[in-house]
Amino acid sequence: MFQQRTQKSGRSVATWYRSGGLSAVFFALPLVLIFLYFSWGPIVRGLVLSFQKNNLVAPPEWVGMSNFSYVLTDPQLPQAALNTLYFCLLALVFGFPVPLFLAVFISELRKTGWLYNVLSYLPAVVPPVAAILLWTFFYDPSGAGVFNSILGWFGLGPFAWLNSQTLAMPAIVLEATWAGAGATSIIYLAALTGVRTELYEAAELDGAGIWSRVWHVTLPQIRGIILIMMLLQLIGTFQVFTEPFLFTGGGPNNATTTILLLIYRYAFINGDFGAATALSVLLAGVLCVLSVVYHFVTRRWSTT
């Protein structure tokens, strides 16, 4: 009996080996190791860390919910959350329609479309950090700054731009829109090539004008990609870091401090990794809820 069983399992190991079971393990090894070290591991560790006091020097210490209560009562948090929402809103209102409009427009041009494409994609090729440094210079608050002297020709300004509490955030969104519009419009353009042109014919026969054709045919046809790009943009803007970090460092007077900037300060300036991960976990939770809600709200439109 016992012998029979070992023989059987021995045979199954052999068949497993012969059918390539071992090589499947070898093939999976890079993926599993990389994800263990740099994806699954850090996610679990993040959850653990948020309940610990940890500065990477002293041994970690369990502190229960105190990281969360510390983060949630931090007087900077409401301001940072509002700033992040404000950035999202501005990026949505100004940054979202621009590439869509550009893509619909370019798709109508048969011969010269590529030129518009290349020109509008150029800002995306500029290294983002170089672009930010350049724009910091454009936003020079003195009368001799680039934007101020251009506006000065029309008798406007000078504006304080990044030094002004009210203008700093719109200024950052303006740069982000400039940098991102070309890349997004390429994606819309690719989607627009799939629009069935018979529908335009039909709409025209029914007496629809150009604008109502755009509104009732073009946009509904690429609705799927529009909804996804909007969600990706929301998730991206909630985690905005580089622009406010390099433009203003969160100033003036914390007017551009975003959630991610706060996380960065907790972790890499104060050395409080517990608080930083607690805030990361909270933000991730909010984003998950946002995605789920978004999915349910937009499902009605995307399946019709």
Binding site: P30, F38, L49, F105, V126
Partner: protein, 293 residues
Amino acid sequence: MSYERGIISTADRQRGLVRYGLPTIQVLIFIGVLIAGVGPLLWLLKSGVSTSQDILRGPMQLWPSGIQLKNIPDAWNRVQIGAYLGNTAFIAIGSMISTLFVCTTGAFVLSILRPKWGPVVTGAVLATLFLPGVISLVPLYMPVLKMPVLGISLQNTFWAVWLPQAAGAFNVLVMKRYFDSIPRELIEAARIDGASNLRLFTSLILPLSKPIVGVVALLTVIGSWKDYLWPLLVLPDPRLQPISVALPRVAKTTEISLQMSALFLAVLIPVVLFLLFQKQFLRGVGMAGGIKE
């Protein structure tokens, strides 16, 4: 040659408003994208060969105190833009190789070999897709300082950038979906011909998936090109830093004229590369958008 019709039909184009309005809008938008796309680059070109005083006093004037061509070699030598651009390229290519290696082998197991434990791995990879990146920003820093089990530190090595890049669930799943669409008959035929798993992978699956490999490679390079925070954290050594991390640091200590020439050089090379390969590039980026759907 007949074009497929667009939103605006030939009948529309006869109407007066469209006939004259459309070219006007075209010209206006052309001026818009021209100013947005080329304007800053031209300004940078101008400022890259100006004196600091000119840049500060009259940023919109054309060289009141003459053209300073020597700024460019100065920036190249003193700011070492060449070295930083080299680091950037090295980081981008390394990230691309590690990403492609991990996601092709992984997708091969999950899609073609389909071992019993495959769905568990697929599920675990899929789950990370729904978690925003912010959750692992800080804890990702810790295995880099000291790798668990191995006990080595990756800080100040390029591995610290290359390896975490490869843990992208999106790439693995996109690759898996593409492999799923390869007809099973081809794989069965290769098996009957006695192909081993390795041979199946290198001689059948990889050659069949060139388009998707290209798109993933392009997306990885663009992503690593734009990355700032992560290399800033894990590469404190100035000699290893990519241009994105080096520029803001250098900007604090160099005079404005050199800073502008350095920026100009940092922008010039990618722009030239883009203009040379624009067709392939734009097609690849457009395809990537289709995948997101």
